[in-house]
Point group: C2
């Protein structure tokens, strides 16, 4: 197996992934990512009000979303959601056991779980898995660590950026899993991101939050929001730079690297969406406000009719106008322009004669670009989605709880 490197490519991290027997497939289902000491860390969790015990644990550790953490332990195959106080004890025990093998404090270990909901974790397997993972921690196990967080993903999702701030070389890397809200009930977007830059915790969090809003949060496979979504980032400081904060000279370069990695992971998630055959970029510009741009772009990206039209390769601008109009964003039909693949289908609210063949060729491709100019202001946002296919329904209808 090629020894792929990503999350341990930034200096100062080790990782491992082991098979502890949660997944019936017998594949890796428990991973640990650890820094060599407590390092600045930031975590973003789902906006769903129904959350898994691991999310509750992480929020308890980092109520403001940032601090100094040592590690994260992740299991797949069971999400520890809707498991009551016992589930919360299990999440705590995962942190405690991981802390013990790392010789760290439990309050420095984040936890994430993904998989079936409504079942208690098989803690005997988890305990053995944590011990076994701890024994194999290193910089050569990134591939196994990635497999350990995956559920029904059909592709491995990772991204790496190497760059320089002044004379400091640094690396920033990430892995992710998530394909929609899939089997057995709710699948989850989990992403782990590492860098060897020194970044102050609050700065790490503010950059991650801003970038996630344009990348991970721009993704909508089916408008359904998991109960367990978690993005965790660690900055080891091993690159040796003076710690960066939002005012620092190098902060922009760091944020750009972060955006590259998160943007790449977000696109990889969409491309692996359930039943997806195409990646669709819906850009709204000219919105009255930034918030309006986001609302309008999501309304198109979530419209089942629009997504079916993309699946069928139909240049159905009417469905785009409908989806914009039904949104809470301000829309004036008389100012609305819609382009697909750069070709104007509708201008100032009226249909345009267009080169049907050129649009059909674009729609037959793998990456579809839709641009809606609302003509009302400066707000702009791009949402990422995939088409809605018969396979999506088949995957989600035929699954048995």
């Amino acid at each position: 197996m090629p020894n792929e490197r990503h999350i341990t490519l930034p200096k100062g991290f080790v990782a491992a992934g082991v098979k502890c027997g949660i997944k019936t497939s017998g594949l890796e289902d428990l991973s640990i990512l650890a820094a060599q000491r407590r390092v600045p860390a930031a975590v973003l969790t789902t906006r769903n009000q129904v959350v898994g015990a691991p999310v509750t644990w992480c929020r308890g550790l980092l109520p403001r979303g940032f601090g100094r953490m040592r590690a994260i332990v992740v299991n797949s195959g069971n999400s520890n959601v809707c498991t009551g106080p016992g589930g919360l004890r299990d999440a705590r025990e995962m942190a405690e056991r991981t802390a013990r093998v790392l010789n760290a404090e439990p309050e420095t270990v984040l936890v994430a779980s993904t998989g079936v909901i409504g079942h208690r974790l098989p803690m005997a397997k988890i305990r053995a898995g944590i011990d076994s993972a701890a024994a194999s921690l290193g910089v050569g196990c990134d591939a196994a660590a990635l497999r350990g967080i995956m559920t029904t993903d059909t592709r491995r999702k990772s991204a790496v950026v190497k760059a320089r701030i002044g004379r400091t070389e640094f690396a920033l890397a990430g892995i992710a899993k998530g394909v929609g809200m899939i089997a057995p009930s709710l699948a989850t977007m989990i992403s782990l991101i590492t860098t060897d830059l020194a970044v102050a915790p609050a700065g790490l969090h503010s950059a991650l939050k801003a970038v996630a809003g344009r990348t991970f949060n721009a993704v909508t496979v089916d408008s359904d929001t998991s109960t367990s979504d978690t993005v965790a980032m660690f900055a080891s400081g091993a690159a040796g730079n003076a710690p960066l904060g939002p005012g620092s000279a190098g902060f922009g370069k760091f944020a750009a690297a972060l955006e590259d990695v998160c943007g790449s992971l977000a696109r990889q998630i969409v491309a692996d969406g359930e039943g997806a055959t195409k990646l669709v970029e819906v850009t709204v510009r000219g919105a009255r406000t930034q918030a309006d741009a986001e609302i309008a772009a999501r309304s198109v990206a979530n419209s089942p009719l629009f997504k079916c039209a993309v699946n069928g390769g139909d240049p159905n601008w009417g469905r785009i106008a409908m989806a914009l109009g039904k949104s809470a964003a301000k829309v004036d039909p008389a100012r609305l322009t819609v382009k697909v693949g750069g070709v104007t289908l509708m201008a100032k609210g009226l249909p345009r004669k267009f080169d049907l063949k050129a649009v059909a060729r674009h729609l037959a491709g793998k990456e579809i670009r839709v641009l809606c100019d609302l003509g009302l202001g400066e707000g702009a946002y791009t949402a990422l989605t995939c088409d809605l296919s018969r396979e999506y329904v088949a995957i989600n209808a035929d699954y048995r709880t």
Copy 2:
């Protein structure tokens, strides 16, 4: 052909439906419903910001949604949406010509259109159709009038109630079309309702609005909102009662009859949803507020994952909990109870052991009932939807604009 009676069953109305050549199928595509004089009328139109010219015309006539009207003219096969100022002139001409043949004022004739968008109406055909419909107006043409408003509907949708207020016998009837937002781009929910009761215009509107909120607006086939949805109601007063207003003794009976008719039409629309194999009633109760109940019920009813699970007959309560949690309504997982077909699947946030066979039997049926008790207050709402099937995708992906 059996001479079905519905919208002219209430005394004081005539109707007609003719084939004027808009639809390529050659079926009826233009209908007129007329009272014998100006009578109290109310109209509700789409909340979509992109609206067809006929909606603009109706709003211009009845800015507050009620007044005294003589008739409505409806065509199918072309929705007169995204047609600019010319489209608005066409809508006005439809009203003017209908008014002329009825010897009425153009400002007393409502207009509705449904079908392809982005194309000007074939006005020569429309003019001939209006003349021909006017010539055949009567009480024996209800079936043709209903066919004239239909597009891709696979079933005819009508409902009639006969009842009494004191010694006054009255009838209340309605017809509807709409199957989701279907071919060619946006299909539309159009409903025409008649009664021979005398009801004051403002009372007619307030009752229609309240009832529509619990019936037509409770329907969500695919979360997509047409640009042309229109519900128009006329009250001829031919039953001879003293005019009813919200304070009148008989107003409750009138409102109940209206709710029966609209509720029946709403269920007929859902059952004829694109690709639908099941009708799904999602009731949320115990919500903090009425608005929260509606938001939460719609979030479940619109969740693609939930709708796929229903299609597959899977008792996937996790997807229901997820859809509640992602909504803007307040949800406390620890108070959440979910029942399907009367069987408790989740209580106070924890999964319950349940009789899988009993739930599977319920899910194998044609009408599925989901009850979510949020345990937070008194708000309650029932949303109506259908399952999401491969056929839905097939219908919407394979259509060619």
